[in-house]
């Protein structure tokens, strides 16, 4: 056998044909345990369709999808609407597709900072809260393969960064494979092992750095986009707690973050400060 037998999912030349056209075609991709694979591409480029082939929701009309038969999947769909008629609390939602022990559910909710919402009705959550609850449900299952379809939509920039860090942490803890779909071309997290850039077919793939510098990527998104493909690497000295307070690096908790005293090693922050400083001098 050519492919490694421990791959979670292997797509070979996979394609989906609907209403007279190919949504995606010729997709080759593998996801291994403990690996984060990110799918990027413009709208309608077949990112979600590719993920659905990998999940087994769609059967490829061409090519093959080989999925490890015993694997447990955790899926965070792009859209999920809960009707008013459906009474569903967050804690009941955790065991939607399988038994999850109380501890597993609580751990997952604590990790995504949604534990305080466990008795809330899913319908009443804000966009950002709902995204975190969706993620909590998926990881409470202790999946072998975690598939996230645009998990950062409706989440503000800080939340987005926190979510990417959390995904990396989950991967490290569970040693699961992660298939991540991102609409955000500018922030591809540093933890991504491989980026696959789609545009109806695999346009280019490789490590984030290779893809960013590839000619195909530049042709697809333009030179400006490629210069903006930030490979996000930074560390925090404080974190925002769910109730709005701040826990600082030394463990103290305050109501506000005093931004003057912070030490973000993130370059963009420093640049902003420098600019502000220059403006003051001018």
């Amino acid at each position: 056998m050519l492919q490694k037998s421990d791959s979670l999912v292997t797509l070979k030349n996979a394609g989906i044909y609907r209403s007279g056209k190919w949504l995606v075609r010729g997709v080759a991709m593998t996801v291994e345990s403990g690996e984060i694979v990110t799918l990027i591409g413009p709208n309608g480029s077949g990112k979600s369709t590719t993920a659905k082939i990998a999940l087994g929701v769609l059967n490829p009309d061409e090519g093959t999808a080989i999925r490890r038969p015993t694997m447990r999947i955790g899926y965070v769909p792009q859209k999920l609407a809960i009707d008013w008629t459906l009474p569903l609390t967050v804690s009941r939602f955790m065991s939607l597709t399988g038994d999850v022990s109380r501890k597993q559910a609580d751990d997952a909710m604590a990790e995504t900072q949604t534990l305080h919402l466990s008795k809330a009705e899913v319908r009443t959550l804000s966009g950002g809260e709902f995204q975190r609850v969706l993620l909590a449900r998926a990881i409470a299952r202790r999946p072998d393969l975690l598939v996230l379809d645009e998990p950062v939509q409706g989440v503000d920039f800080n939340g987005e960064i926190a979510l990417y860090e959390l995904i990396k942490k989950i991967r490290d803890e569970l040693q699961c494979g992660v298939l991540l779909i991102s609409h955000d071309l500018h922030v591809v997290m540093a933890a991504t092992d491989r980026v696959i850039c789609l545009n109806g077919h695999v346009c280019c793939s490789g490590t984030p750095r290779t893809v960013a510098s590839s000619a195909e990527y530049k042709a697809l998104f333009g030179a400006r986009a490629s210069s903006g493909l930030a490979i996000y690497e930074h560390s925090h000295d404080h974190e925002h707690l769910p109730d709005g307070r701040i826990r600082h690096g030394d463990g103290t908790i305050t109501d506000h973050c005093n931004h003057d005293e912070e030490n973000h090693s993130d370059d963009s922050h420093n640049q902003m400060k420098n600019k502000a400083g220059n403006a003051n001098v001018g």
């Binding site: 009707d83 008629t85 459906l86 009474p87 569903l88 609390t89 597709t97 399988g98």
Partner: protein, 281 residues
């Protein structure tokens, strides 16, 4: 006790309410009200066929309902008309075909009103046996497919991705619907079955905090409606089937009243009254 027509009606009605509640929740959650209507209208065609071929009415209705839901599945996949147009087409044409077929059978004298609006007071011990054994069967199967069916109700793709086999659950659910309509047709009639499925579930929603709880509450509301409707029909000499639906509607209206606001107002009035009386002293 079974000698008394009224106790038989009560026992049969309770049996139907207990199955209609949980199943009705799924109808409400999945927006299948019109689908329920379609199946129950098609039931009349089943009645006509049963009389024509001299077979058991409940069985014939079940078979026709299953066929109609399968036709619907096929037509939906071909998708030329929208789903609601297809349902309307199937519902009313099967009702019309049923009525025409009955009219052709001049040799059978059939109480059409009994099939349209139910004839709960003519329930026989055999009917009760069918309702309760069939009903228990339906509830056991529903409990077995509960998790996949509920997961598919929340999101089909999520359910499928996580190995819940939603297609299979959906087909079993359609069979259960057909069974419930066949079982409960005699109680409320083909025109009112959907009401018995939907109204208790809708009334239960306000007080439910979880899906399982809502299913149980809907069953209880249904039983209350059966009691209220039957005693009301005995008291005021109204038709039994429609009276049950009216009683269910009553429970629903109570459930949507803004209770906290009313209670507050009363308290407010009470305190004002005491204040006034104190003032008088």
């Amino acid at each position: 006790m079974l000698d008394d027509f009224f106790s038989r009606a009560l026992i049969a009605g309770i049996g139907v309410a207990l199955i209609a509640g949980p199943l009705g929740c799924f109808i409400v959650w999945r927006r299948l009200a019109y689908f329920g209507d379609t199946l129950s209208h098609a039931a009349l065609l089943g009645v006509a066929l049963a009389l024509l071929m001299e077979i058991n009415v409940t069985l014939a209705v079940f078979v026709v309902c299953v066929c109609v839901s399968m036709v619907l599945l096929v037509l939906q996949k071909r998708a030329t008309l929208s789903a609601d147009a297809l349902l309307g087409l199937l519902a009313h044409s099967s009702l019309a075909v049923g009525l025409v077929a009955l009219a052709f059978m001049t040799w059978v004298r059939v109480d059409l009103m009994g099939f349209l609006f139910g004839d709960i007071l003519a329930v026989t011990p055999t009917d009760i046996a069918i309702i309760w054994s069939g009903g228990i069967g339906v509830l056991i199967i529903l409990a077995m497919i509960w998790r996949p069916l509920f997961a598919a109700t929340v999101n089909v793709e999520l359910a499928q991705a996580e190995g819940m086999k939603p297609e299979r659950a959906n087909i079993i659910f359609m069979l259960l619907m057909a069974a419930v309509i066949a079982i409960s047709m005699k109680i409320v009639g083909v025109l009112l079955i959907t009401a018995l499925l939907i109204i208790p579930a809708a009334a239960a929603r306000r007080f439910a905090t979880g899906p399982e709880q809502m299913a149980m509450l809907a069953a209880i509301v249904g039983v209350v409606a059966v009691f209220g409707g039957l005693f009301g029909s005995l008291e005021w000499d109204t038709p039994a089937g429609p009276s049950i639906v009216v009683a269910a509607l009553g429970v629903f209206i109570v459930s949507v009243l803004p209770m906290p606001a009313i209670l507050k107002k009363k308290q407010h009035q009470n305190t004002r009254k005491t204040q006034q009386s104190r003032g008088l002293e």
